[in-house]
Symmetry: C2
Subunit: 338 residues, 2 copies
C-alpha cells in the first residue's frame, strides 16, 4: 500500500483509545470475561482501519512458540503431496500456519536447514518419509509427527500405511501372469517406508518361489530422469538375468522406467511389466496406464495433522489411530485391462 511506518499494536491501541494489552487480548480471542463487547468492536474497527497485522516474530518471542507448522518432505513437488497438504490444511484450519521446507527431490533436509527451522520456534513439525539419519538430527523438543515412517512408531508419533495386503496383491498379480524373475527399482532416499516396501515385495515373491533381482545400480532419487538412467544402466544385467517385470518404489520411478523402456525399444507390458507406488493422477494416462499401489494422500495428511494438534494441545491419548489402508490397482502396464 505505502511505505509508511509499520503499524503496531500500540497504534491500534491509541486509535481505539485502549491499551495494547486489550488489543492483544482481542486479537488472540482471549476476551471471555476480560474485554467488553464494546471494546472488542472498537479494537476490530481500529485494526481494520489501520490494516494492522500482528508481528509473528514478536508474538513468537513473547509466547515462546510461533504458530508455524512445518512440513518437511523429501519430494515436495511430487503431486502426491498436493493431497497430503490438502488434508493437513483442512485439519489445521486457521489456527496454525502451514509452511513447507523445500529440498531437492528425494533429498532430506540438511542439519543446517533443520537448525534454521528450529530457530523459527515452530508449534509443530510434520515429517514425511524420514531416514534414520535425518531423525537423529531432529533434536528439537517441539511436537513431531511422522508420516509414512513405518518402524519408527515406537519412538515417535507416526501415521502410516498398511501396505501388507496391497503388496501381496501386487506380487500375486505378477505371479499369476507368469513372471518368475522380477527386478526391484529402489529409491535412494534411505527412508524406512522404502525399506519396508522392498522387504515386503521380496518376502511375498519368495512365497511364490520368484527370483527378485536388485542390483546396486537399480536405484535412484525420486525423479523420472534419474530413474530412467538408473534403469537403462541396469537393464543389460536385468535382461541377462531373465527379468520380465520391474517393481518400482514410486510411480515417479516407474515413469522413468516407462521412458527408458521406450528408448530401449522394450514393449510394456509385453516384454516388460512395470509397477509403481502412489497412484498419482498421471498414472491413469501414462503409456501404458500404470499398475500401482494406491496410497491415499489426503487421509494421511488429515490424520497426521490431527495427531499433531492433539500433541500441541497435550490432549494426545495413549494410542494412535490405526494405519491407513493402501490398495492395489491393476492397469495396463502389467497387462491388466486398463
Amino acid at each position: 500500500m505505502n511505505r509508511s511506518p509499520r503499524v503496531t499494536a500500540a497504534m491500534v491501541a491509541e486509535r481505539a483509545g485502549l491499551s495494547v494489552a486489550t488489543v492483544s487480548l482481542v486479537l488472540n480471542s482471549k476476551t471471555d470475561g476480560r474485554v467488553s463487547a464494546a471494546n472488542i468492536a472498537r479494537v476490530q474497527t481500529a485494526v481494520a482501519e489501520l490494516g494492522y497485522v500482528v508481528d509473528q516474530g514478536a508474538s513468537a518471542l513473547a509466547r515462546g512458540r510461533s504458530d508455524l507448522v512445518i512440513l518437511i518432505a523429501p519430494d515436495l513437488s511430487n503431486p502426491f503431496f498436493g493431497s497430503v497438504i490438502r488434508g493437513i490444511k483442512a485439519e489445521l484450519g486457521s489456527r496454525f500456519q502451514l509452511v513447507l521446507s523445500v529440498t531437492e527431490s528425494g533429498v532430506q533436509p540438511s542439519a543446517g536447514d533443520l537448525r534454521r527451522f528450529a530457530g523459527l520456534r515452530p508449534a509443530g513439525l510434520l515429517v514425511d518419509a524420514p531416514s534414520d539419519a535425518f531423525l537423529a538430527d531432529l533434536s528439537g523438543d517441539e511436537p513431531l509427527v511422522l508420516l509414512d515412517a513405518p518402524g519408527l512408531e515406537e519412538s515417535v508419533a507416526a501415521v502410516n500405511y498398511d501396505m501388507h495386503q496391497a503388496i501381496a496383491d501386487l506380487v500375486d498379480h505378477l505371479a499369476e501372469r507368469g513372471h518368475r524373475t522380477i527386478a526391484y527399482l529402489d529409491s535412494t532416499t534411505g527412508t524406512t517406508t522404502f525399506h519396508l516396501r522392498r522387504r515386503r515385495v521380496l518376502d511375498r515373491a519368495a512365497t511364490h518361489g520368484m527370483t527378485v533381482v536388485t542390483p546396486g545400480a537399480a536405484r535412484s532419487i525420486i525423479d523420472m530422469q534419474a530413474a530412467a538412467y538408473a534403469f537403462r544402466d541396469a537393464w543389460p544385467l536385468l535382461e541377462s538375468s531373465g527379468v520380465t517385470a520391474v517393481v518400482c518404489a514410486t510411480d515417479t520411478h516407474a515413469y522413468g522406467v516407462l521412458e527408458a523402456a521406450r528408448t530401449l525399444g522394450l514393449a510394456v507390458p509385453h516384454s516388460l511389466a512395470v509397477t509403481g507406488f502412489d497412484d498419482l493422477p498421471y498414472s491413469r494416462v501414462t503409456s501404458p496406464a500404470l499398475t500401482t499401489v494406491r496410497l491415499p494422500g489426503e487421509p494421511l495428511g488429515h490424520a497426521a495433522a490431527k495427531r499433531l494438534v492433539r500433541m500441541i494441545d497435550e490432549t494426545e491419548p495413549a494410542e494412535g489411530q490405526p494405519n491407513l489402508v493402501a490398495t492395489f490397482v491393476a492397469r495396463e502396464s502389467t497387462g491388466a485391462i486398463g
Copy 2:
C-alpha cells in the same frame, strides 16, 4: 535432544566468557575489525557445544526483517515448481530461507493468508502467476518479484517468458496438419499468463483463418480430474462445432483431456489432437506423448531470485533482464513422431 531450557545467546556468551553483543556479531559474520580471531573461535566453540540456534523471531524483531523469502504459487504441487524452486534455492544460497505458501491447486492465497505472511516480516516475496485481484491484495512494502506475470512488468518487477514464437509454432503446426477448428481449454486461475497464452493462440489461429471454439464450460483449475470433467462436459458442443484439436493452458489440463478422451473413446491424435504448456517430465510418457510448449522452470527461478536479492540489497539496476524463451515441442499427441 532434551527438554532442557532453550539455549540463548546469553548462555553462549557466558560460556565463551564474552558479551552477547560479540556473540551476535560472530553469528552474523560482522566481525571484520570488530572481533578478534581468538574470540571468534571461542564463540564458535561455545555455539557448537551448546547446540545454539538463533531465535528467528527475536532476530527479525530486532532487525525489522526476517531472512525468510516466501514463494507464493497457485499450484505448488505441480512438478513444474520442482525446477523453479531448484533455481530459486541455488540463487538464494544460505543467506535466506525459502518457505512456500500453500494453496489448493489453481487457487490464489486469500487476503488472510497474505496478512499472515506479512506478519512474518519476510525479506522478500516471490509470486508466481498472480491474478490481478491477488496483486491488489498484496499491499506490503517488501521487495517483490513476480514470475510468469506478463503485462504487469510495468508496475512490479517480473521475470517472464517470451512465448511468442513457441505459440506461433504450435498453431502453425496444427494448421499444417489440417486442423481448421480447434478448441482452447483455459485455466480458471484468472492469471495474466493464461490470458496471454489464450490471446496469442487466438491471434495466430486467426492468421490461418482457423476457428477457435472457447465455450465457457471449457475451463478448469489446474487439476487433471477437473480438466477431464470440464472437457467431457464441453465435448458434445465441441464435437458438433467440428473441433479436431484442443489446445490446453497447461500440461495438467492436457492430461485431463487425454483421460477424458480415453473415456469418450476418442483416439488421440487421430480423432483429436491435444497440446499443453509446461513440458512436465510426465509429458514424455503419456499416452500418447504430449505436444507442448516448454517453459524452462529452473532459469525462471534463478532469474527471479537474483532479481529479488538485488532489490533486497537495493542494487537493482534500472532495467530487468530479457525474458526467458519458451520453445515448442512436437510429440505424438498431435501426430508428430514421438
